[in-house]
């Protein structure tokens, strides 16, 4: 076999390995990214499945028990489509309206761990976990963002048990 062919085989082997790795890793770790409305509309489909949701944190519902490290709070639906967010006046405004509007869909969240610094009223929460049969969302990881105060260079703060 010529060297050229040997090289081609080597390259194909590496390419195949890369494709396989991407495929299997995507399959193993892909998560649906849903809004609260989407999750609640397809409840039965998603119960117990690992998903990621986004919502606005309602400040007065935050309850933290430092003894058990149990953190409970409720999030309100925010639209997922960016265009809609822009049309409604930007993320800060959308989050504010989501929290104050009593007709929005709400979702209770439970998390075990340290209380994140950026968890506060009208923060945007991106939560990874699963919906329990009891309708409560069990979070493994919290990602929080406060769009209102600082310019964009603020990092998201992630906290979770699987880091």
């Amino acid at each position: 076999m010529s060297n050229r062919n040997k090289f081609l085989i080597g390259a194909l082997f590496i390419a195949a390995a890369v494709v396989y790795l991407i495929f299997s890793a995507t399959k193993a770790s892909a998560q649906y990214f849903l809004t609260v409305n989407e999750l609640l509309a397809r409840k039965s489909e998603f119960v117990g499945k690992n998903v990621r949701i986004s919502g606005a944190v309602i400040g007065k519902t935050i309850h933290y028990d430092p003894q058990t490290l149990e953190l409970r709070f409720t999030i309100a639906h925010v639209p997922g489509d960016n265009k809609v967010v822009e049309e409604e006046g930007g993320l800060a405004k959308v989050l504010h309206e989501a929290v104050t509007d009593p007709n929005r869909a709400h979702l209770d969240v439970v998390y075990h761990g340290p209380r994140p610094d950026m968890l506060k009223d009208e923060a945007q929460a991106i939560i990874t976990g699963h919906l329990g049969a009891d309708g409560v969302f069990y979070a493994d990881e919290l990602l929080l963002k406060c769009p209102s105060h600082y310019e964009d260079a603020v990092p998201d703060q992630a906290q979770g048990n699987n880091n």
């Binding site: 060297n3 050229r4 040997k6 090289f7 080597g10 390259a11 590496i14 390419a15 390995a17 890369v18 790795l21 991407i22 299997s24 890793a25 995507t26 193993a28 770790s29 892909a30 998560q31 649906y32 990214f33 849903l34 990621r52 986004s54 933290y64 430092p66 003894q67 058990t68 490290l69 997922g80 489509d81 960016n82 822009e86 993320l91 761990g113 340290p114 209380r115 610094d117 950026m118 506060k120 945007q124 991106i126 990874t128 963002k145 769009p147 105060h149 600082y150 310019e151 964009d152 260079a153 603020v154 990092p155 998201d156 703060q157 992630a158 906290q159 979770g160 048990n161 699987n162 880091n163």
Partner: protein, 688 residues
């Protein structure tokens, strides 16, 4: 006033860069050196103008000119001076100016070099760099203007604009928003400039590559000219990444250093393709091979640099469902699309000129192993790029956003990084050109045996994770091979009568590229050891304990001795726990995890207390505490084995890069060695 000066200077630098593009093009087309010289001078003018513009922003920041929207959004009165200066790159508008200023600085330096031997490259280098610069300046002028003022309109809104909108009144807020406390850390202050310097410096080799394609001077000259630029770019990018990791570890309080956040990945992508590029250009210099591939790599690196700037700065990824949230998104995509297509077109046009009459002769030769290394690097680029764009793709295709997180990256890149380590281990044992399996076998057995002995030792002390053992085997093997290269080189010199230290220093200083590269490899090996340690053996626990209570994790025990609360002069309320750390029952130190509460921004910040040794870190976070009456506190505790190896490895890595980049002034090496490809051609000619 200051704002107008800054804006005027910005506008002028934009016009001068456009002029330079036009004059360079005309000069090249008509063969008019006078026009070319005029273009060169225009480039030289851009830098002072942009410096003036950037200095104006800094002056506005320093003097609390909150009527300027940018100043109000990134600073506040009580911020210390150094933070006000570094606020230049604290927000989007300012950091775009900073990017442009770096670009102008680098091209300024470039214009001052002697162009005698490379006159034909000059116009095209000017055009490529100035087109890139003009794009960024255009963004600053027309979309993200850092000099825009705040105005109160009649209907009660506040708007930002450079000039007074009809009927609006100037508006000056009492104070600015300030900088997020999380960003007030040396790692985070230095991280963006290093990252940007790395991004921008990669534009220079790209510019020469394009000049080489356009002029048809397709030998390795463009690579030789830009070797140091590439190394500098790579060093800056590496430093930027490492500082970001350190910041994450010190400040974010989750015990980790790398979260595969899309913004991190965006900075990693050009580093990966740049690393591949640094390796494969060596093959072109030595063997005149892989010319197409080097072009592809530098084009890709340039595109990833622009993509990375866009991702890290535009804020698009930090929000949930967001691409093209800010106005600059589509512009960036258009720019990347146009430059990428144009570059590939130029490459296609020269495809045949770049063909080499030489071939890789052996699969075990160094050039062959380098080629495989390149393929693996590209594999990692593809994986990481997939991770970033998968959510967007899935939304486009299925209408439903599906994301992949850190587990995806770990699973998909882990085996590829392991393969890279293996190649890094084998490559030094092979030779350029023809390498025989016999020679390889002769050299390889000792490192293999030593690596197995090391792994056996680790097994004996109780490490059972198979993948960790595989990782440690690879690390040990590569380390022994690299070290044996030093030993062999030093021995050869000692046989010629040199003393050990002299032999060692001369070995490195007279082959800086080679041994600098090996030092970089050693740095990578040390870092890899740390990464394996933290990835496979990190443990954590959390508990609430009364004062005097204990938390045990592995060999470590901590006791909660007390809590101090006080106000710091810079507007923080500090709650600081006193925690004693015991290892196997013996007291080894006291740490102070704390929680700062910034009064102005109502933002808490968690600072871990870390007891750090070369073997492991014991990392304590104060989660919560109760008033004095109850005297209990909640802690989260991490045990991070070998994490210090990452930072130590990074230092070795930087040292190696500096050795490799240091100019060779030694008379012994100043005599140019004849490139191998010349000898090969002659040998072939005489054989036929």
């Amino acid at each position: 006033m200051l704002a107008h000066i800054g804006y005027g200077a910005l506008l002028l630098s934009f016009l001068f860069s456009l002029y330079a593009i036009g004059a360079a093009f005309y000069g090249a087309q008509r063969g008019r050196p006078d026009w070319l010289e005029s273009a060169r001078r225009a480039v030289l003018v851009v830098w002072p103008l942009l410096t003036l513009s950037a200095v104006s922003i800094v002056a506005l920041l320093l003097t609390n000119q909150f009527q300027i929207e940018y100043v109000a959004s990134v600073t506040s009165r009580e911020m210390p001076v150094y933070l006000k200066i570094t606020a230049l790159w604290g927000g989007q508008a300012g950091s775009l100016i900073f990017w442009s200023w770096l670009m102008a600085t680098f091209t300024f330096v470039l214009m001052l070099r002697s162009w005698k031997r490379d006159r034909e490259f000059l116009p095209w280098v000017i055009i490529v760099t100035m087109v890139t610069l003009a794009f960024f300046l255009g963004l600053s002028l027309f979309v993200e203007n850092p000099f825009a003022r705040l105005w109160a309109t009649l209907d009660g809104h506040t708007v930002k604009a450079m000039f007074r909108p009809a009927g609006a009144m100037p508006f000056t807020p009492q104070d600015g928003n300030g900088l997020n406390p999380l960003l007030r850390h040396p790692g985070m202050i230095l991280h963006p400039p290093f990252l940007y310097a790395g991004f921008v410096a990669f534009v220079i080799p790209y510019a020469f590559a394009m000049a080489s394609l356009i002029t048809g001077r397709t030998d390795a000259r463009w690579i030789r000219i830009t070797r140091r630029w590439s190394l500098a770019a790579w060093l800056f990018l590496s430093l930027g990444l490492i500082l970001g990791m350190r910041w994450s570890y010190d400040v974010l309080g989750w015990g980790g250093y790398w979260g595969w956040d899309p913004v991190e990945v965006a900075a990693l992508l050009p580093w990966l393709s740049g690393t591949a590029f640094l390796h494969s250009v060596m093959i072109q210099e030595k063997e005149e091979l892989l010319k197409h591939w080097n072009m592809v790599l530098i084009i890709l690196t340039y595109a990833l640099v622009i993509f990375g700037t866009f991702l890290t700065r535009s804020g698009v990824l930090s929000s949930v469902h967001a691409f093209a949230q800010s106005a600059i998104g589509p512009l960036f995509f258009a720019f990347i699309g146009i430059t990428f297509t144009a570059s590939l077109y130029l490459l296609m046009r020269r495809w045949n000129d770049l063909k080499s009459d030489l071939r890789i002769e052996s699969l075990l030769s160094r050039e062959a192993l380098f080629t495989f290394n390149n393929m693996v690097f590209m594999g990692i680029v593809v994986v990481a790029f997939w991770g970033v764009i998968f959510p967007i793709l899935s939304e486009l295709v299925t209408g439903q956003k599906v994301t992949v997180g850190p587990p995806f990256y770990r699973k998909a890149t882990g085996p590829l990084f392991a393969l890279l380590l293996l190649l890094m281990g084998i490559a030094p044992l092979s030779a350029w050109g023809y390498a025989s399996a016999k020679r390889l076998k002769k050299l390889i057995w000792l490192p293999v045996v030593l690596a197995f002995l090391t792994t056996g030792g680790l097994l004996a002390i109780g490490i059972r994770s198979v993948w960790a053992l595989v990782g440690f085997w690879l690390v040990a093997f590569t380390a022994f091979v690299t070290l044996s290269e030093f030993v062999r080189g030093v021995r050869a010199r000692m046989r010629r009568g040199e003393a050990l230290p002299v032999a060692f220093l001369r070995l490195i200083s007279r082959n800086r590229r080679r041994y600098g590269g090996y030092i970089v490899h050693l740095g990578v090996i040390v870092m890899a050891t740390g990464i394996i340690g933290t990835q496979f053996f990190a443990t954590q626990t959390q508990a609430t304990v009364p004062q005097g209570g204990k938390i045990t994790l592995g060999h470590y025990t901590m006791t909660y001795d007390g809590l101090q609360e006080f106000f710091a002069p810079d507007g923080r309320h500090v709650a600081r726990a006193i925690v004693s750390v015991y290892k196997d029952g013996k007291k080894v130190g006291v740490v102070h995890p704390r929680r700062d509460f910034y009064l102005d921004s109502q933002q808490p910040m968690t600072i871990p207390g870390v007891r750090s040794t070369w073997l492991d870190d014991f990392y304590v976070i104060l989660v919560d505490w109760q008033p004095i009456s109850v005297e209990g506190a909640t802690f989260k505790v991490f045990h991070q084995p070998l994490v210090n190896w990452i930072w130590t490895g990074a230092l070795i890595f930087i040292l190696g890069t500096l050795v490799a980049a240091w100019p060779e002034a030694d008379p012994e090496t100043a005599k140019r060695r004849r490139p191998r490809h010349a000898a090969r051609r002659e040998a072939r000619a005489s054989a036929s």
